[in-house]
Symmetry: C2
Subunit: 553 residues, 2 copies
């Protein structure tokens, strides 16, 4: 905690101040827009951008992470709250803050229990499919505010403003950076400055809407943004707790996933070490802070953190500067924010999330592993068809399904001796000698509940196709662990083989595995000793030299 | 399908007939009792025992599986239906049948999609904890019918009848088999005959209740059992479909788990091969049949199948004989079944499920692997505290959690050369030589989304503690697969190391893994070739002999 502050050097200050200002300029329209995605008044997005990053700076583990509102988490927040309270109501805002609290507690508890490994429940193709599905769902949800009416209808002034803003944003993304460079700005600075285009477009839209008095023509505006800092909101309606618990678990998981993937990408660039359990604590505390400031669930955002990093952020001080600037924006007269036209905010959302439509992972997976590509497609489709909450569950099940499916087909080789040596190799790949009475099987996987059935089946098959075998040796060179399920299975295979007059043996069991096995009854049940090497097993078991066992125990 | 009928030999008939009769005698009280557990009238248990085993005989894969009502599935059925319809109502029965249909469709779809590997989603400790939790929950639910009132109160005549039946059943379990043997019955036959004790106790209870006219003293009876075969019940209320879908998925999963564990135990004894996808189809068809005959979800029962096997069943004909006998029992006058006292049926349930209180798995796990023991305890507690449905979810999450947790700590060894040889070994275990410029890391696990983060962290650590390293070689002897997530990670490690002037190399990549990697961009990104052996890599990379790469590609 605050490790970075102890080692703060003055040389870092310029970078942190610059990044703090740039991210603040980015966060004002983004925070307001993502509050709209969550079904909240735009000002909630600014509330959610002040306390949380300050708290994350105290507890989090990433140096350049920008914590605040984020598109996918806002989408989930909206999906959870929509059935619980009418949009725009006071209850809705209270529930949003409480949801942040639930997420915060979930994340803190996971952090204290050191459950950081849970981030591994999503495979990368599933994560990518989930992100793309969410991006499409968010974009689809903004078509109505963009056009001022439900597609295929539109409200002409709104649609012109909205579509104009989309075109301006795309043009800025494409042409602003080269233009600034041609005007003499250094390449790096131009890249960062170009990220401020949404702020410029929003201000332009605001100016246009005010000049042309578009409100009178029916263009909707962001509405009142109360001046002053947010009120602490500690009200808790116990009746809604239960309804928020399960979604809080899912959103907490997604908060952690999103933040970890952003932080990892940046940590790799800075060769930093990221501690997933600290990250959980930091995010948990940030979400509790979001509750206290009348916000909604927050997380680290990859796109914003990348801007923070590119703009020169060295430490979390950059985020604190951003937060102070946003607080200042609220203290200053905020009347003008109310005049922001919604179609322009919708345009910034659509253009921002279209940047999340990354298809590279799908392409690579399609070429490399069709199963992973299918997982991508099903997760993306799951988000679009079943909704974002079900999408998370589908994603976890698919990741786990792929894992169990792969585990359920372990590689197992029948071994033979390379003539004249003590080396034993897969007989399918090498010209190797076998003995009719001793069958050697090498299991190339850790033995655990996911593959014991498959290993058992393979043993049966091999025993059936080697009717002269009197000894079956499992060569355990590749086995680094045997779980309790596999321990039971070994006992059952031993008993079943014994009934048919076949003795089960183990060879080349790794030290730590052997230590564990010695705690169990298995070694006593086996017909013979555990052999140190395959060669010893093959030699001693061949043609019933069982009498000499003892010396190899 | 009907493979067994083609190879039927006359010698099998005696065994099948004997087992068919024994199981029928066992099923009449058991089916009625498990119907009560599901909240249904007792006769539904007999309905559910006629068509399903016949259909399973046509499509299933196990020779001696006895498909019908089963305690845990009945518990889940009751838990799902209780909030949807008043107990004893017509709607409740229709929903029970529809739930069987949903389960049947889920199982059939899983079978057609060849998802038999899904049985591997539960580890054995989790399965055991789940079973024990369910047994306790079922027993607890039967205390009230046993005592005739809610504990600590009781209705004296009911309680005397119920507790008397419990004592009789325990005594029969303990003494009946030795007694029959002493009367000259062969040991095996005595064992089977002793399983008929519940039927005898039920009949005794019936006689006692009738003689003493216990109904007039307030002892509850089973109630009317309509004579005649069940009516086909095809009514489907679409409004309830949605409510049944998610529980249907969970119950379908449990049906499959329970049946597979029963069938596996028996197949092992008979050295039979079990095809999990056929089992899914058989169970799916049986549940569709359960719907059609006004029953409720059914599955294979370990205890009943074991009796079927012990009584001499050779083929599914035994189950067909059982079904025909039960149908006959319904066609005969059934008025006497209505007189069965509920406390006696409750006693048979309690004694039956107490047999499921198996603590051996917990004991072994406690000694062998505390993590697995914890999973047992949490699953069992989850069933008792959160309910049986949540218990399944907890069990799956724990199994997967253990798996991901174990995967997230792969074994990685720094290798050195055993002096004077070409053998490379873990430097922590063997006295081995290392080179300052070439760092050799052997990853002892398949690379996949669950461990890439941990492998990446370890690489960072080793690179930091070997500042003179210019080459990092990943020795892939133990890697049988690299998934898409790990493919991306390899690319990122390569890029990150390159920025620091360290070249990443791979050595000893297995044939199938190499074939897949060649489909990707990775080999082109790496600084050098993929080395055939660790020795080649160490020799060629040492002190910058990179110029000689090409010949080893």
């Amino acid at each position: 905690m605050l490790h970075w502050l102890k080692h703060y050097r003055r040389a870092m200050l310029a970078g942190d101040i610059g990044a703090g200002i740039v991210v603040a300029m980015m966060l004002i329209p983004q925070g307001m827009a993502y509050a709209l995605v969550a079904g909240l008044p735009p000002v909630a997005g600014i509330y959610a951008s002040i306390l949380p990053p300050i708290v994350y700076a105290l507890f989090g583990s990433s140096m350049t992470q920008s914590v605040g509102p984020m598109a996918i988490v806002s989408l989930m927040t909206g999906a959870v709250l929509a059935p619980l309270a009418p949009g725009g109501s006071g209850l809705y805002s209270v529930l949003a803050a409480q949801l942040a609290l639930v997420c915060g507690i979930v994340l803190l508890v996971c952090g204290l229990l050191r459950l950081g490994f849970l981030a591994n429940f999503f495979s990368r193709p599933v994560m990518s499919g989930f992100t793309v599905g969410c991006a499409l769902a968010i974009a689809a949800g903004q078509v109505k505010p963009l056009l001022g009416a439900s597609f295929p209808h539109w409200h002409a002034p709104s649609a012109m403003l909205g579509i104009g803003a989309v075109i301006a944003l795309f043009a800025a993304r494409r042409y602003l950076e080269p233009l600034l460079q041609r005007c003499g700005m250094p390449a790096h600075a131009a890249g960062v400055a170009a990220k401020l285009a949404p702020m410029l477009v929003v201000l332009g839209g605001l100016a246009l809407a005010s000049l042309l008095q578009l409100q009178e023509q029916g263009v909707k505006l962001a509405g009142d943004v109360p001046s002053g800092l947010p009120q602490l909101n500690l009200a808790l309606s116990h009746a809604h707790w239960r309804a928020l618990l399960q979604p809080g678990l899912l959103i907490g998981f997604v908060i952690f996933l999103m933040s970890m993937s952003a932080a990892q990408a940046l940590a790799q660039k800075r060769n930093e070490k990221l501690v997933s359990n600290h990250e959980l604590i930091g995010l948990g505390a940030a979400n509790v802070a979001a509750m206290m400031s009348g916000g909604f669930p927050v997380t680290g955002s990859l796109s914003r953190s990348a801007v923070n990093f590119a703009a020169g952020a060295q430490t979390p001080l950059a985020s604190i500067i951003t937060a102070v600037l946003l607080a200042g924006a609220l203290v200053a007269p905020t009347g003008w924010l109310a005049l922001l036209p919604l179609p322009v905010l919708a345009a910034t959302i659509i253009v921002a999330v279209l940047g999340m439509l990354e298809l590279g992972t799908l392409k690579t997976a399609w070429r490399y592993d069709r199963g992973d590509a299918a997982a991508w497609i099903v997760t993306c489709g799951g988000v679009l068809v079943l909704g974002v909450e079900a999408g998370v569950v589908v994603g976890v099940l698919l990741s786990m399904g792929t894992l169990i499916w792969r585990a359920s087909r372990p590689h197992i080789a029948v071994l033979g001796r390379i003539a004249g040596t003590e080396h034993f190799r897969n007989i399918d790949r090498y010209p190797a000698e076998t003995q009719p009475d001793v069958l050697l099987l090498r299991v190339d996987a850790n033995l655990f509940f996911g593959n014991v059935e498959a290993v058992g089946e393979r043993i049966e098959e091999e025993v059936r196709s080697h009717p002269t075998a009197q000894h079956l040796v499992l060569v355990m060179t590749a086995v680094s662990s045997i779980d309790t399920s596999a321990l039971f299975a070994l006992g059952e295979w031993n008993a079943s083989l014994k009934r048919r007059g076949i003795a089960l043996h183990l060879a080349e069991v790794k030290g730590p595995v052997l230590d564990r096995l010695r705690e169990s009854d298995l070694p006593a049940q086996l017909a013979g000793p555990i052999f140190l090497s395959t060669a010893m097993a093959a030699q001693k078991l061949h043609k019933g030299r069982d009498g000499e066992y003892a010396e190899y125990i």
